[in-house]
């Protein structure tokens, strides 16, 4: 583990973050956008764990932030999928362009 510098792990997590951003920009399907959000949250988790391991190996703060982010991501996915399925029942579509009823 010590042969790999911290910046290489940060490069990987940065690349994963921007892959998620690309998915969020190009996809119009709500489920695939949710998958992009999961990729972004995971890149943040990699950052927290790598900083904790490399810079403060005697502390546990990064582990706790990662656990809380995982818990919030689980809650967010559950709520988002409930919303998506309700939207599909009403509109027969889960395209973000179709959900424009409340648009001014």
């Amino acid at each position: 583990m010590s042969q790999v510098p911290l910046s290489h792990i940060l490069f990987v997590s940065t690349a994963l973050f921007f892959i998620g951003m690309y998915g969020l920009f190009t996809r119009r399907n709500m489920i695939t956008m949710l998958m992009s959000v999961e990729l972004i949250l995971n890149s943040v988790n990699i950052n927290f764990v790598a900083f904790n391991k490399y810079l403060y190996p005697d502390k546990l703060e990064g582990v706790f932030f990662t656990l809380f982010i995982v818990a919030i991501a689980a809650a967010e996915a559950a709520v988002a999928i409930a919303i998506i399925i309700n939207l599909y029942r009403n509109l027969r579509s889960i395209d973000v362009e179709a959900a424009d009823e409340m648009k001014f």
């Binding site: 583990m1 042969q3 790999v4 911290l6 910046s7 290489h8 792990i9 940060l10 490069f11 990987v12 940065t14 690349a15 921007f18 892959i19 998620g20 951003m21 690309y22 998915g23 920009f25 190009t26 996809r27 399907n29 489920i31 695939t32 998958m35 992009s36 999961e38 990729l39 995971n42 990699i46 764990v49 790598a50 391991k53 490399y54 810079l55 403060y56 190996p57 005697d58 502390k59 546990l60 582990v63 706790f64 990662t66 656990l67 809380f68 995982v70 818990a71 919030i72 689980a74 809650a75 967010e76 996915a77 559950a78 709520v79 999928i81 409930a82 998506i84 399925i85 599909y88 889960i94």
Partner: protein, 186 residues
């Protein structure tokens, strides 16, 4: 000459990035979910490589066992089978690639310029000394006392500790958030 550990890291990160790209570009939504599954499993492998076994286990249980299964369920409930996703608009795809590449290069430049301290730690001597003394003052709980103990027992004790550097309040707030999310689904 790269050691075996470094080779494992580069193979793992290549796997994560390639499956991540396939997850956001695949035309079939079910394949996209399966590529996401592979990417999340690769991230769990990265946590194992960092010797964070507990986080890796949480990653597999919550993401691979929970969220991806939920996503696949919702795909089966909302998609017509065998229908491809529409290709993104060409102008939007070009703009997205340009914006993502610009952001990636900018962030990599910033990360590459930053030096993380000569001893792998940013220069903050007062802060470090304070942390150690607080860790010793906790006494029985043994929080941050320089042993580098990342065992599950230590994580659990600090997570539920009510003393300084304990995380019991965020823990309870998260449990109420999860309860509210579950009760919303009724």
């Amino acid at each position: 000459m790269m050691s075996a550990s470094a080779v494992v890291f580069y193979i793992l990160s290549f796997f994560i990035l390639v499956t991540g790209v396939l997850a956001v570009t695949s035309r079939k939504i079910f394949r996209s979910a399966i590529w996401l599954l592979f990417s999340l499993t690769g991230i769990a492998g990265l946590y194992f490589w960092l010797q964070m076994e507990f986080i890796a286990a949480v990653q597999i249980v919550v993401y691979v066992g929970g969220i991806v299964v939920l996503i696949i369920f919702s795909i089966f409930l909302t998609q017509q089978s065998g229908k491809d996703l529409p290709a993104p608009v060409r102008s939007r795809a070009i703009f997205s690639v340009l914006a993502v590449c610009a952001g990636f290069l900018f962030t990599c430049m910033l990360v590459g310029q930053y030096t993380f301290g000569a001893a792998g730690r940013p220069a903050a001597p007062g802060n470090v000394a304070g942390g150690v003394s607080v860790g010793n003052a906790v006494g029985d709980i043994r929080v941050g006392n320089g042993t580098g103990d990342m065992s599950v027992g230590n994580i659990g004790r600090q997570l539920l500790s009510t003393s300084e550097h304990g995380y019991v309040l965020p823990f309870e707030v998260i449990s109420i958030l999860l309860l509210a999310a579950v009760s919303l689904l009724q």
